[in-house]
Amino acid sequence: MQGILTDIFPNLMSKWPDFIKSIHDTFIMVIWAGGVGFVFGLSFGIILTVTKPGGVLENRPLFQFLDKITNLFRSIPFIILLTAVMPLTRVIMGTAIGVPGAIVPLVLGSVPFFTRQVQSALAQTDEGLIEAAESMGCSPWEIITRVYLRESIGPLARATTITAISLLGLTAMAGAVGAGGLGDFAIRYGHDRNMQDITWATVIVLVVAVSIVQITGDTIAKKNTH
C-alpha cells in the first residue's frame, strides 16, 4: 500500500506532514470564517428581509444602509480585500498574517455573498404566510423564527452549501497573506516546483470536501421540503 502510494504520489509522500497541515489550515479557515460569516450573513439577510419596504419591521434608513454596504463589499475583488483590510485585521486578530490573519478578510468576503443568498432564500416565503401569522397575533420575532426561518430551512441549506463551497475557493487565495492551506500548498509545490502529483492530490481533497458539503446540504434541503 505504502509502496503504491509512493509510486503514484512520490512528492506528496515526502511532503506528507505539510499536506496534512495544509488540510488542517483550510479546515480551520472554513470553520471559523464560515461560522462567523454564517451568523453575520444570516442576521443581515434577516434584517434586510424584515426592514424592506412593506416588511414586518419596515425601516427604510436601516434597510438602505445595509443594502448599500452589502453591495459595496460584494463589488470588491477578494484578492484586493485581502490586503486592503490588513489594518483592520491587525486590530481584531492581533496579526495580519497566517491563518488568523485570513479569517477577517474571509468573513468580509463571504458575508455579503451569504447575506444576499439568505435574503433571496427568505424572499421565497409566501407573503400570505406572514399575513396569516400576523393575523394570529405573532410578534415580529415569532414571525422571523417560526415562519421565515422555519419555512426556509430548505432554501437556507442550499444557500449555505453554495456559500461554503465558494468560501473553500476563497481560502485558496488566502495563501497570499501566508495563511497556508491547500491552495497555498498546491501553488508552492505543485505549480512553483512543478510537482504534478501534489496538484492532483489537492484537487482530489477539494473535490471530496465539496461533495461532502453538497451532499449534506442537499440532504437537509430535501428533508425539509414537503
Binding site: 396569516a132 393575523s135 394570529m136 397575533g137 415562519v147 419555512e151
Partner: protein
C-alpha cells in the same frame, strides 16, 4: 360587536393616491354572519383587514366590544388579534408543518401543556371533519381540505370573530358549498360572529344574515339579505342578484327570440317578483280568475334566502287589454314586483 366608524384608507401608490375606503361605517352584531360583496378593487379586503388592524385605517375608529383597537399598544393588539380568527383565499398554511403542526401553530405561548394542545388540536380537527389527516402535509391535501385546516387553525384560540376573505373563491361549487355549511355550523354551534367577503352573490345567499354591497371604497347598500334580494335599491346590487337568478335569463331569451317566450299580439310578457316573506296566497290563479285572463307561466325560480322563499315567475298575460292593466295594478298592490318585459298589445 364590531363597530367601524368613518373608516378612511388611502394608499400612496407612487405619485398617485388611491382612496381604497371612503368613510365607511358599519356595525356588525354578535353572532351574525355578515357578508361584504363587491367587485374586485372595491375595497373589501382593505376593509376586513381594518377589523384586526392588519392594515391600519388612515382615519376612523375600529371598536370591538367597545375596545378601540387603534389605541392599543402592539402587544395588546396582538392579544386582541388572537381573539379574531382569519381565513384566506389561498389558505396560507405553513408548508413545512403537518396538519397537526398548522393547527397547533397559534397555540404556542397559550399556556397549554403539550397534552392539552394535542387534545385541543384533535378536537378542532374533528370539528372540521379532518381527524384522519393529522399527519399529512398541506401539499397532500385538496383545496377544500386545506381550507378546513385553515378554519381549524383560525379557531385554535377560541375567537369570538372569524374573518373570511374570499375563503371559497379558489374552490369548486360543491366544495364551496361544504365550506359554507361548515361556517354556518360554527356560527350556530359556537356562536362565533363571521364576516364573509366574497364577490359571489351565491355565497351571501347561502349563509349571510346581513349584507353590505361595496363599490369604489364605499358601502352602497346595506340590509337584511332577504330584503336586499327582494328589493335591491342600487344598480350594482341588482347586477349581483341578476347573476344568481334564472329569471334574469329571460331578457336574453327574448333578445335571442327563443320560441315560446315571445308574446303574441295582444299579450304581455312580464316578470313577477315576490317581495314578501309570506307568499301563501295563490296569487296567479286568483289574478287569472279575477280578471278573466290566461296566465301562462313560462319560467319560475323560487329559492330560500335568509330562511324565506324569494324569487318569482315570468308569465305571459293574455286577455282584455284594460283588464291586463288592472291585473298589474292589483298585483302591485299585493306587493308583487311587476316588470313588463315586452308589451305586444299596442300596434307598433
Amino acid at each position: 360587536m364590531i363597530e367601524l366608524t368613518d373608516i378612511v384608507k388611502t394608499f400612496q401608490a407612487g405619485a398617485k393616491q388611491v382612496d381604497a375606503l371612503r368613510n365607511v361605517s358599519l356595525t356588525i352584531e354578535d353572532g351574525e354572519i355578515f357578508g361584504i360583496i363587491g367587485f374586485s378593487g372595491a375595497g373589501k379586503s382593505t376593509l376586513v383587514r381594518c377589523i384586526n388592524l392588519l392594515g391600519r385605517p388612515t382615519s376612523g375608529s375600529v371598536k370591538i366590544d367597545g375596545t378601540d383597537l387603534m389605541t392599543l399598544s402592539s402587544k395588546e393588539l396582538r392579544e386582541e388579534r388572537k381573539k379574531i380568527g382569519m381565513i384566506f383565499q389561498h389558505f396560507n398554511l405553513m408548508p413545512s408543518r403537518t396538519v397537526f403542526g398548522n393547527v397547533a401553530f397559534p397555540l404556542k405561548g397559550s399556556g397549554l401543556s403539550g397534552e392539552e394542545i394535542q387534545k385541543k388540536v384533535r378536537k378542532l380537527l374533528s370539528l372540521v371533519d379532518l381527524s384522519d389527516k393529522e399527519n399529512a402535509y398541506p401539499s397532500e391535501l385538496s383545496g377544500g381540505q386545506k381550507q378546513r385546516v385553515a378554519i381549524a387553525r383560525s379557531l385554535a384560540n377560541d375567537p369570538k370573530i372569524l374573518l373570511s376573505d374570499e375563503a371559497t373563491s379558489a374552490l369548486d361549487p360543491q366544495t364551496t358549498s361544504s365550506i359554507l355549511q361548515l361556517l354556518k355550523k360554527l356560527n350556530r354551534e359556537l356562536g362565533i360572529t363571521i364576516v364573509v367577503i366574497t364577490h359571489e352573490m351565491e355565497v351571501i345567499k347561502e349563509i349571510c344574515n346581513r349584507v353590505a354591497v361595496m363599490e369604489d371604497g364605499a358601502v352602497v347598500e346595506l340590509g337584511d339579505v332577504f330584503d336586499v334580494f327582494a328589493d335591491p335599491k342600487h344598480s350594482l346590487t341588482k347586477n349581483f342578484i341578476r347573476t344568481t337568478s334564472n329569471l334574469s335569463k329571460i331578457e336574453q331569451m327574448v333578445a335571442d327570440g327563443v320560441p315560446g317566450v315571445t308574446p303574441e299580439k295582444g299579450e304581455v310578457l312580464a316578470k313577477l317578483s315576490y317581495r314578501q316573506k309570506d307568499v301563501s296566497e295563490p296569487l296567479i290563479s286568483t289574478t287569472a280568475k279575477e280578471f278573466s285572463l290566461d296566465i301562462n307561466i313560462i319560467l319560475a325560480d323560487v329559492e330560500i334566502v335568509g330562511g324565506a322563499p324569494i324569487g318569482g315567475t315570468v308569465v305571459i298575460l293574455h286577455g282584455d287589454s284594460a283588464r291586463i292593466d288592472e291585473a298589474v295594478k292589483y298585483l302591485r298592490n299585493k306587493n308583487v314586483g311587476v316588470e313588463v318585459i315586452k308589451d305586444a298589445r299596442n300596434p307598433y
